[in-house]
Amino acid sequence: MEKALSLITFLPMVTGIILCFLPSRRIHLIKKLTCGITLFVCAYSLFLYKYFDPTKTIQFEEFAFWIPQLNIFYHVGIDWLSLLLVILTTFLMPIAVACSWNSIQEKGFYISLLFLETGIIGAFIARDLFLFYIFWEAMLIPMYLIIGVWGGKNRIYAAVKFIIYTMIGSLLMLVAIIFLYIRFETFNIEALCQQSAQLPLEVQQWLFLAFALSFAIKTPIFPFHTWLPDAHVEAPTAGSVILAGVLLKLGVYGFLRFAIPLFPKAAVFFAPAFLVLAVIGIVFGALMALNQTDIKKLIAYSSVSHLGFVILGIFSFTTAGVMGGAYQMINHGITTGALFLLIGALYDRAHKRGIDDFGGLAHSTPIYATIFLIATLSSIGLPGTNGFVGEFLILAGAFQSYKLAAVFGGLGVILGAVYMLKLYRCMMFGEMKAEQEFLTDTQPFELSYFVPLVCLIFVMGLFPNLFLENLNSFAKDFIGLVK
């Protein structure tokens, strides 16, 4: 139990390295091993959930010497936010493996997924800024390979755009990290938070912008979102699920863990700008989604819109807003993950994904339509689903600080309903298209990963306090840092 975090982080990578040595023909064994390891890691992380002590903040800490000459240590630990995100990651990974089971038969894909899992979990648990940076950059490579090798027609463009865009942001963050190290001789996050809050405003502003650029590209915040539609559309299903479900949360996590606590004065200074950008993102994302004919691109833009909500909640700096933003992160992961899985299932059968290519699916594939409906309603934010809890809290919090932003946010909710319901109507109701008789309904194998997602949607919507309760103390601490 003491080394639980390191186990969760490095077991996928070690498995990946072992899998490299297995011959490529034994793809069945490789798939089973990958699935088994990811499920094991998921179960292990649920243990962390069980043993989490709400009274303490950072737990399961591990500390080791790494590069003492530069004060760099291997220091990991989790608090409630990190725990939720780690569980989200480990939960979505086996689903990603399962949904590629029949479509991708190359071992490199599964090895990349395992390395990706290591990188992402490492980024969520790092308590040393240098270690965080290493994981942050390192997990880009497997994602780049996943999009670029196993993606759609335009995959190389999307993959290269994704990686170069993200790395450019990260390089400026590196300069800021080095600056902090030089000033304060440490990479430890807690120590830095205490000391860097004393920096004068001008210095904080530059450093905040350097960090914020990198996270804004990742989240994504308008206008740094242009890599997202391409990457999401061209990625294979599993890639889209992980990209939308987890990778985008890394950007928000970066804001919550680093950019804002390290530079609170600058965060407060730039908050109006971020709120404006968030609102623009919400409305812009929704309007763009309304216009799409490619279903995957529509959901990609809906991600931009949803994450605009999250940023809105966080930068409102109210308890409700921050709680809602953090909770909505998890919701979005589940909901959009489900949506991408659904589209992936359809694409595997029909090999097209235009809105106009389908119609009346509710008649021919009722189970599929039902699951799709649940995911749609969660995306819209229907009460009873997880989306409602997050959106409500965000809007409540935003309304306390900037009423106008909350009004536009509400507009975004309405627009969200418009494009999602339009999508549902075009696909599920109406005339059946000619080739559709050959589309089979959801198989039991696929249900194995849809059912947990659907259950979570309802559980998180009806019993949010399972997750929300401890976010309250997190939000209070967070706002205490800022004020």
Partner: protein, 494 residues
């Protein structure tokens, strides 16, 4: 000190010479296909091991007390930790090259004795150069290194491009060396002494202008050797034309030697002079800019790697710029660490190009690498690791060495320079990733086009070692950091 004692001190330099002559002599007396030729690599590696061992033994670790360096041959040579560490880098590169030499030589029409001897002579020249304390030794060891390298460039006489590369290198190299000679003679005229460690105090104040001129001339010559802008024009053509194994060796060792001499000059001479750090700053910025920009448009991977070498020279020069402005030993440690990582990255990358042969010829253009990952997954993975390290992606050695450099530069408030270097890194991402795109994401032009001739075992070993050290230098740098920090022990006190 008796002669025997002094010879004992310079034994690391003597071993390569003895090795060269022994192999040459054996080669004289045996027939062409004699079995003893298979033993040559072993002999060569033994001499390298002896040399390296005696270097390691003599490294002084004591950083607390001032340690006097060892002067030999009436102070012609100074044996300090800088010489020992830099020579070790060069010997490591030579080892990686010799590991596959026997198989390589079977394929090219070069007599074995020449190959080993020339490489040993080049290395001897480099080691002497790094250890030299007076102008004459510096000049003739520079020439030994240069001429050996010129010959090595044209060794295989394989195409007109090779001949062109050799001629370019020779003529421009001779020209650049003459600049160094001119600068050295000016310094002699100004100070009346040829000993590096004495010159600084002998130059009169009113001669500062002339001293500045002399310094610039020497900088020009040395910048040529290391491939810094604007004296870099030979690098792409020579790297492209030379046989790839030689390019691999040359791109690394000549740079290490050149940088070491620069470090010595800066420490003893330049850092006291006005404008020295300005000159270095402009050269650094120009090198970073040109190296990264020109690599963007290349269609040949070999040429791209040549320009990337230029850009890496730029990064390493950041350390020297900081050093000449501040005389902070940490700056040189960072530069040495960067050079060490650069050794493995670039050597490995060039070896990879040498390793991958399509059915007709050496793979050179980007398209020649298309689809490599499906046919040779391990090779593609090795190249990916090296490329990512060159680009500076964590957790490889390239990232950590850049980080260490930037951290030192920012510590001395060279903000603009670091931001400039960061922009250079951003640009470089594109052309490095292009290789990965080609290998993994494009289909092969012809199925089975990567000829499955049995790859040399030694070559695989060299590449594996390069990749291993690249990763080690990134993930476990502590031990190596100790090594490069020891350089300042026993340097010449000016």
């Amino acid at each position: 000190m008796t002669l025997t004692q002094q010879l004992g001190f310079i034994s690391p330099i003597l071993y390569p010479i003895v090795g060269a002559f022994s192999i040459l002599t054996i080669d004289l007396f045996v027939s062409k296909e004699h079995k003893i030729k298979n033993v040559y690599p072993l002999i060569a590696l033994i001499f390298i091991a002896l040399s390296a061992f005696s270097l390691v033994q003599s490294i002084q670790w004591d950083t607390q007390n001032a340690v006097e360096p060892i002067y030999v041959f009436s102070k012609a040579l100074v044996l300090d930790n800088l010489y020992r560490i830099a020579s070790l880098f060069i010997l490591v590169a030579l080892t990686l090259l010799f590991l596959f030499a026997s198989n390589y030589l079977k394929h090219i029409r070069v007599s074995e004795g020449e190959y080993y001897a020339l490489l040993f002579f080049a290395v001897t020249g480099m080691m002497l150069m790094i250890a030299s304390n007076d102008f004459i030794t510096l000049f003739f060891s520079l020439e030994i290194m240069s001429i050996s390298t010129y010959i090595l460039t044209g060794l295989t006489r394989e195409s007109s491009r090779t001949t062109e590369a050799t001629m370019k290198y020779f003529i421009m190299g001779a020209f650049a060396t003459s600049f160094i000679l001119y600068g050295l003679t000016l310094f002699y005229g100004l100070s009346g002494t040829i000993y590096l460690h004495l010159i600084a105090q002998m130059i009169q104040i009113e001669n500062q202008g002339m001293a500045l001129l002399a310094m610039t001339l020497i900088l020009i010559g040395l910048a040529f050797k290391i491939g810094a802008v604007p004296f870099h024009m030979w690098v792409p053509d020579v790297y492209e034309g030379a046989p790839t194994a030689i390019t691999a060796f040359m791109s690394v060792t000549v740079k290490v030697a050149g940088f070491s001499v620069l470090i010595r000059f800066i420490w003893t001479l330049f850092s006291g002079m006005p404008f020295s750090s300005h000159l270095l700053l402009y050269i650094t910025m120009a090198t970073l800019l040109i190296g990264n920009l020109y690599a963007l448009t290349q269609t040949s991977v070999k040429r791209m790697l040549a320009y990337s070498s230029i850009s890496h020279t730029g990064y390493a020069l950041i350390g020297l710029t900081v050093f000449s402005a501040t005389r902070d030993p940490q700056a040189v440690s960072a530069t040495l660490y960067y050079l060490f990582t650069y050794t493995f990255m670039t050597l490995g990358a060039f070896l990879f190009i040498f390793y991958i042969r399509t059915s007709q010829k050496e793979a050179e253009l980007y398209e020649d690498f298309a689809g490599l990952a499906t046919e040779r997954p391990w090779s593609a993975f090795a190249m990916t690791v090296l490329i990512l390290s060159l680009a500076g992606v964590p957790p490889m050695g390239g990232f950590f060495s850049k980080f260490y450099l930037f951290q030192n530069a920012l510590h001395h408030q060279f903000y603009g320079l670091v931001i400039f270097a960061v922009f250079g890194t951003m640009i470089s991402l594109y052309y490095y990733l292009k290789v990965i795109v080609m290998m993994y994401m494009k289909p092969a032009k012809n199925v089975g086009q990567f000829k499955e001739e049995t790859p040399y075992f030694g070559l695989t070993l060299s590449m594996a070692l390069s990749v291993l050290f690249t990763v080690l230098l990134g993930l476990a740098p502590t031990r190596f950091l100790e090594w490069v920090s020891a350089w300042s022990v026993g340097i010449i006190f000016g």
